[in-house]
Assembly symmetry: C2
Homo-oligomer: 274 residues x 2
């Protein structure tokens, strides 16, 4: 039994939500009112978490947005982790992987030092670059498979001589390598036409599905096609579509209310599939 | 003209060395004598840099080893950057890449906040995941191509329907995308049989060649086959093979002397190709 997987599946069934809130928190884009605070990004994240926690089953911290500000940003990441509701999955969206002895250090960083529940990793370097992550049998590992961006056509969607595409090959290999039941894949929400086949090919893998909202993916399709046979095993991530609602906000309450309504609307859509 | 490229090519020609020293500095593996110091990894790095700077043309900081210790490790990374000789190339070996707006943040982290000269990135997500890095026209971007680990067989070496392997496709696309003359690729030193063909196919790309030493790649082959027609454009990285010499070290001087001899021996081998 996998602690991270159980936690988030329980939460999915309880809340009837698949919502993963992406904390792509950009100091230059958060509402003006936070910028004069002592810890702008941390306070912004505090508001977003407060406003969404009723609807969310997971939170995804996009490490790039924190690393961009160096030590100060990483301090914000660390302190944000402490704000996450303990019954929600915490995901480091870091897309790491390297040769084995280096991947072990990344795994140590995210699973031991920061103690995230889950991590995104990149498959290019193959098995021994991923195995150190899979070795953490109480965590969830999401391997990039078919991403939402246009560049997915450059390599991911290329057909191999075996007849399958690269992303299908990644899906198949991840299933083979998943000896601890802790593997997942990242499938972009803009790829809903392939989602049905991918779910059929990998009924047991956890799917992390970003790309709804700013990137244009369909929420309904992603939810319907992404879940497993127990209506679990899938997370729909929305980042910019929740954390940056339109409007001018003259108080924290008004901002939180606006974010909360965004999350509620997404949750309402998701309820329909249960 | 690219500042990073020119700097390291000048240094290669002046020193007749291709040596990149990999600072994969592991707190649990550094000599005992450093562990009682206030900043063990930083002091260890100071010794390694001092002992190798006559022979090195570049230093590669493997971000995993610093992230593994959280803020304290990243503080060590930041302070190590200040110790690097300004005429050597500073490389963040971070293997980042994500959708465009996220890659922009990683580029900001490594090229603006930390101000590295160069960065390693992963190609899986395609053009728009790499373009934000290539946009920094005074920096060098090394895209993973054919790596030194056994997992390179899982995806990188797979043949595409077009007849080329995935890594050959990556090499070709990186050349197309290199509008600023700031692209490079990572080719493992264990792949010397392919190195000649890759250099012929991409005469203008910078090659970062890790895998000599602990991973078993041939130094002589990597150097001979990796350089461009001006005997520049290639870096041979050695990490564990330099920074962890055998022996018990009862003083900083004895350790530095041992590291220095390792670097000198590698430099002596490289001199032969000039």
């Amino acid at each position: 039994m996998n602690a991270a997987r159980n936690k988030v599946n329980d939460r999915i069934s309880t809340t009837k939500s698949l919502l993963c809130v992406g904390l792509d928190s950009d100091q230059n884009r958060i509402p003006e009112l936070y910028r004069s605070m002592e810890r702008p990004v941390l306070e912004f994240n505090r508001s977003v978490i407060k406003a969404t926690k009723e609807h969310a089953v997971a939170y995804k911290i996009n490490t790039a947005f924190y690393e961009a500000r160096g030590l100060e940003g990483i301090q914000d990441m660390q302190d944000t982790l402490d704000l996450l509701p303990p019954d929600c999955l915490s995901i480091a969206d870091a897309k790491r992987a390297d040769i084995g002895n280096t991947s072990r250090k990344y795994a140590q960083a995210f699973f031991e030092h920061w103690d995230f529940d889950a991590l995104t990793v990149a498959p290019y370097m193959g098995f021994d670059s991923l195995e150190p992550f899979f070795a953490y049998d109480q965590k969830l590992i999401f391997v990039l498979c078919l991403t939402s961006n246009s560049g997915s056509a450059d390599f991911e969607e290329k057909q191999l001589q075996s007849g399958e595409t690269l992303y299908e090959s990644v899906l198949a290999r991840v299933q083979e390598w998943d000896r601890n039941g802790n593997a997942g894949v990242v499938i972009g929400a803009t790829k809903s036409s392939q989602l049905r086949d991918l779910r059929r090919a990998a009924p047991g893998l956890f799917f992390l599905i970003p790309g709804v909202g700013a990137q244009g993916g369909s929420l309904r399709d992603s939810a319907t096609l992404g879940v497993d046979e127990n209506l679990q095993g899938a997370l729909i991530n929305v980042s910019r579509g929740i954390i940056y609602p339109d409007g001018n906000f003259d108080s924290v309450d008004v901002f939180e209310d606006s974010v909360s309504r965004k999350a509620e609307a997404l949750h309402d859509e998701m309820l329909k599939i249960f």
